[in-house]
Assembly symmetry: C2
Homo-oligomer: 317 residues x 2
Amino acid sequence: MSSPAGKTILASKIAKQYTDELISITSKLSKKPRLVGFLANQDPSAKMYAEWTGKTSRSLGFEYELVEVEKENLEEEIYKANANDDINGIIVYFPVYNNRQDQYLQQCVSIEKDVEGLNFTYISNMYHNIRFLDDDLKQKKSILPCTPLAIVKILEYLGVYNNLLSYGNKLYGKTVTIVNRSEIVGRPLAALLANDGATVYSVDINDIQKFERGDGLHLKHHRVIDNIKESLQDVAAKSDVIITGVPSPLYKFPTEFIKDGAICINFASEKNFNEDDVKQRASLYVPMIGKVTIAMLLRNLLRLMANNNKLEENIII
Amino acid sequence: MSSPAGKTILASKIAKQYTDELISITSKLSKKPRLVGFLANQDPSAKMYAEWTGKTSRSLGFEYELVEVEKENLEEEIYKANANDDINGIIVYFPVYNNRQDQYLQQCVSIEKDVEGLNFTYISNMYHNIRFLDDDLKQKKSILPCTPLAIVKILEYLGVYNNLLSYGNKLYGKTVTIVNRSEIVGRPLAALLANDGATVYSVDINDIQKFERGDGLHLKHHRVIDNIKESLQDVAAKSDVIITGVPSPLYKFPTEFIKDGAICINFASEKNFNEDDVKQRASLYVPMIGKVTIAMLLRNLLRLMANNNKLEENIII
């Protein structure tokens, strides 16, 4: 095998401009913003991840408190945190029950403290390309879900967004395949990229859907086309970008499906690309994205504080 | 087998007081309330059910329109119906995608038109025993999810609620087993009955939880105890009421577990009790509840109209 032409780009490098910005802002604040994380499962890897978010948050000038609770007390603890003026942001580590009750619990987080951007109003605004909570005054930015937002920022860094094109059209001509259609990442991400002009193939275990910018009279947002007859191999062959998020150590995206020179990004904790040969095909490969995601989560926290008039007036985020 | 002592009680009989009330109210209105149902799946039994709700609604003085849409257009159609002043209530027939996207779609229905009572705010209010949307003026009633509400009304009819006890305590001393812990029926029902003083065993395929009235400082509502060591047989043996909702024709609640004289209610479309012998044990048996549920759905519709000042002022619901 010849030495591959492709390059690995680490999330830490992409995150740097955002972490620098966060440090610059938090250093100017009279009081550290305070994030609380709720952990209600016994999974040691979830605890490790929670502790990592804590460490990262503290290194960027935030206060972080990890609260371990019993599942059956989680809802009451979230409501207490909602009502506590000293807490600026809340993150809940899922899965808790690993069923629909988890979605209920996610919605219990106050819209004013939802750093993950998973409140129904935020998600609905994102799907409908509504950028502000107050559509009249445009003072309060609608929060974007942090993992999809991180992937948008990564695509910007990698030059997939073309700044010669106008706002809302910067992905025009680009084709993207996303292997994941969760409500937390895959589906919102497909909509975000389609809203910016891309043709997106959204792949899950059942089917492939095509997302493109819609032409609805009432909702100026992406539209979805079901019943795509093309296979994963067909859509990958057309894709400038392939993004994977399959939560299984057994899954590997077939390297031979990747178009020469494509950009490959993996957001799963497991490595969904075969690291032995992915760079024989991919031009740029981002093996994990966590550091960008947490930067977006903390950025969301500052945005929420701005929305709620909790930031000094001269601070712009 | 001797002739059983138990009696079957039909939902139509229980529903009558509510359907009479609905007819009495709609006959006084200058314009028929209008309900729209969205059907986005190809299942013939879903269509039959939708047509049945239409027929029942019309017979009670409501206008009903069934709109069949493609899945990918459903969200936009819901938003159009939200904005249409001629539509008073919206019902969406699930499953559509049969995954988490369905919960997203459910939340797209405007809180002002959500006759099923499944908006997050309604469900959260129910769990926290909050009865009004405007806690200060107490003019706008918070809507209860219609199937759990129907079961409460059935329990009232059957005399399980004891009117000698004070409000919020009328199930004191009663033990109830509920075989179903869905977010739509089983879990909210367990909370509603616990909030009224019952001890509730909530059974699903994984475990048994115990719900009882809580003593939280902040949330005056039920509390949940996980890790119950008792078996289904143990909890059924103590239960005055057994309520089933298992969506499978294969499931039958074991008749031998039923305490002599218990009340048995099935809310699944499939018959979860063995009709050959359930009345050898049960004192009262309600084989299906659909007619009460639809009465509650239409009652919710009138409540929503009252909340939104769309009912004539002299009408009380």
